[in-house]
């Protein structure tokens, strides 16, 4: 215990003396949380639309005006032909081309039906998908309105879907992102700092002086783990505060449960950092390996994309990362108010990660080679 105390005191002294580490710990998270949620926005607005109106009737003009006034679209051009509309897509000036065929009004009035054609630039899948959906919806509305004008007494039976958003009523992107970015921060701070720290001692040669002393392996590992765990929790607290002050995100669920989960998660992640450091000889090596894994962890974690839409094999990989479970749980607790029982499953996973990674790191750290 006494030896651990000396190890911890030394570690904290070194951390607080190192300005660059302090910057990483305190300034980086703040900047990330302030900038990322505002910039990384999936709300689709300002979709560039080219309209090819072959009809020039009052109905076609009404439809175009309705689309233009919806707020989602910017009508960039009224092209004389579909071909020219597509050329605009090729030139990246338009995302969608809506073609209204000649005889639109006549067919609508006489035959009661008419087809429209919609061409979508699908390079940015999300934008294209949402843009197409919005436009379909707007045209549906228009259709409804037209129908009401004509058959006022007895409207045809139609199913109208009204949806309401739970847990994030306005469907705001930042509510989805901010909790996940909190996880990202904890991952960066925890994963990289520990991995680099031990390797740095290897590079400088101070680890030799430790290895030749009677310090036990668990004491050394704990001596590295505890300080970074504390720092991680500080970062988490800073992040939560920023989320509250800047974005008005107040966890609906219990804060102690949130901290409990963050605590266990950090142990797992620090174990991962330690493990890398026991395999690496130089800081550059450790940096690359840590970067490689953390990149995969984050891209597969459900931070940006939905886990459910992944193919099954990818989902298995995603579940093999502690980041995935934490992102899921942070969103559950902060936005949904999930209780400890709701997240106990994931907590179990994190605990397993924590035990496995740390044990592995401890076994792989050798005082005698």
């Amino acid at each position: 215990m006494r030896i651990l105390f000396f190890l911890l005191r030394k570690e904290f002294r070194q951390i607080f003396r190192d300005k660059s580490i302090l910057a990483v710990i305190f300034i980086l998270p703040s900047i990330q949380l302030v900038i990322m949620p505002q910039a990384a926005n999936y709300d689709v607005k300002n979709i560039n639309l080219a309209v090819v109106d072959n009809d020039h009737s009052s109905y076609s003009r009404r439809l175009i005006a309705k689309v233009g006034s919806s707020g989602y679209f910017r009508i960039v051009a009224a092209s004389p032909s579909f071909k020219q509309g597509l050329r605009l897509v090729e030139a990246n000036t338009a995302d969608l081309v809506l073609e209204i065929p000649a005889g639109f009004e006549r067919n609508l009035v006489r035959e009661g039906s008419q087809q429209l054609s919609l061409a979508v630039d699908a390079i940015n899948g999300t934008r294209a998908g949402l843009g197409g959906a919005y436009l379909t919806r707007i045209i549906g509305d228009f259709n409804q309105a037209v129908r009401l004008e004509w058959q006022s007494p007895a409207p045809a039976a139609a199913i109208d879907v009204t949806s309401s958003n739970w847990y994030n009523p306005l469907g705001e992107y930042r509510f989805f992102m901010v909790p996940a970015i909190l996880v990202l921060l904890l991952t960066m701070v925890g994963g990289f700092l520990t991995a680099l720290n031990i390797v740095r001692e290897k590079e400088i040669g101070t680890i030799e002086q430790i290895n030749v002393s009677p310090i036990r392996k668990w004491q050394f590992i704990l001596g590295k783990l505890i300080p970074f765990w504390v720092l991680g929790m500080v970062v988490f607290t800073i992040g939560l505060t920023i989320a509250r002050v800047l974005y008005g995100i107040i966890p609906v669920g219990s804060i102690p449960v949130l901290y409990l989960f963050a605590g266990v998660y950090l142990v797992a992640l620090l174990g991962f950092g330690l493990l890398i450091s026991t395999y690496s000889e130089t800081q550059v090596q450790a940096m690359f390996v840590a970067f490689f894994f953390i990149m995969i962890f984050i891209l597969m974690s459900g931070l940006f994309t939905s886990l459910d839409s992944m193919p099954p094999w990818a989902r298995y990989i995603a579940y093999c990362s502690p980041v995935t479970h934490f992102i899921e749980v942070v969103r559950m607790i902060i936005l949904k108010g999930s209780s400890l029982r709701d997240v106990s499953h994931q907590l179990g996973y994190e605990a397993i990660f924590a035990v496995v990674l740390n044990t592995w790191a401890m076994l792989n750290y050798r005082k005698t080679t």
Binding site: I3, T206, E208, P214, K367
Partner: protein, 251 residues
């Protein structure tokens, strides 16, 4: 010098060998060092001194042969060995971003010194080294000579039975080297065994006994006076030349 009785041997090794792939860094070295002795472990660059020393310190497993350090086996009892030795590596390995006092506290602390002992040791060490003004300065800001003296003092802060010094005076000026050897003598007077590697042949003369390693093997082992007689040489320099000339391994 009389060979000391077996019970008083600090280090005994018999045909100790370290093999890296098909390269034999240390080739069946056999030697023993008495408790309290200052033993010079000489050899050209690449002769295998550091590798041999690392095996004796319990930092590296031998490939073959036997050795005991402070009575403990180098294969099975490394942790016991580590409680009884001090080690000063070739590379300066105190924490440069801690102060002198903080380094002393840390290394004293991990060897289990009590607060009282720590206070007494810090005071004593700082007085001996004349570092009163610098005690609260970061170690990184000290000149090399001071760093080396400090590193040695920290290596023996827990009064180990044996201290291993790997080229402790490399790059240090002659005056400081002299002071460094005064520290070694003081430690030997307290009964600490000093196992020193060096390149400076004048330092070899300060040792009770020396061994000279060439290409992983111990080619000569005796007191400096006897070695000079045996090789008809006026100085250890000449002895070393005669032996190391045949070396195959360069730097």
């Amino acid at each position: 010098m009389q060979p000391p009785p077996a019970s008083a041997q600090a280090i005994v090794c018999h045909e100790l060998t370290k093999q890296f792939g098909d390269f034999r860094a240390v080739d069946k070295i056999t030697l023993s060092v008495a408790q309290g002795e200052i033993f010079g472990f000489l050899g050209a660059n690449g002769a295998g001194k550091t590798t041999a020393m690392r095996m004796l310190c319990g930092l590296s497993y031998p490939s073959a042969g036997q050795a005991t350090v402070a009575g403990f086996d180098v294969y099975r009892q490394q942790e016991k060995i580590k409680q009884n030795i001090g080690y000063m590596s070739q590379k300066f390995s105190l924490y440069e971003n801690l102060t002198i006092l903080e380094n002393i506290e840390f290394f004293g602390g991990i060897y289990g010194l009590s607060n009282q002992q720590l206070r007494a040791k810090s005071e004593e060490l700082i007085t001996t080294l004349g570092l009163h003004k610098e005690a609260k300065k970061l170690v990184g800001s000290l000149p090399l000579g001071w760093k080396q003296k400090l590193a040695f003092s920290v290596a023996i802060i827990h009064e180990p039975k044996i201290v291993f010094l790997d080229e402790p005076t490399g790059g240090v000026d002659p005056v400081t080297r002299r002071q460094f050897w005064d520290l070694i003598y003081a430690a030997a007077d307290r009964g600490i065994t000093n196992f020193v590697t060096t390149h400076y042949m004048d330092e070899a003369e300060y040792c009770n006994r020396v061994s000279i390693m060439v290409d992983g093997r111990v080619e000569a082992l005796d007191s400096p006076a006897n070695l000079k007689l045996q090789y008809h040489a006026d100085s250890m320099d000449e002895v070393f030349y005669q032996l190391a000339r045949g070396a195959q391994r360069g730097e």
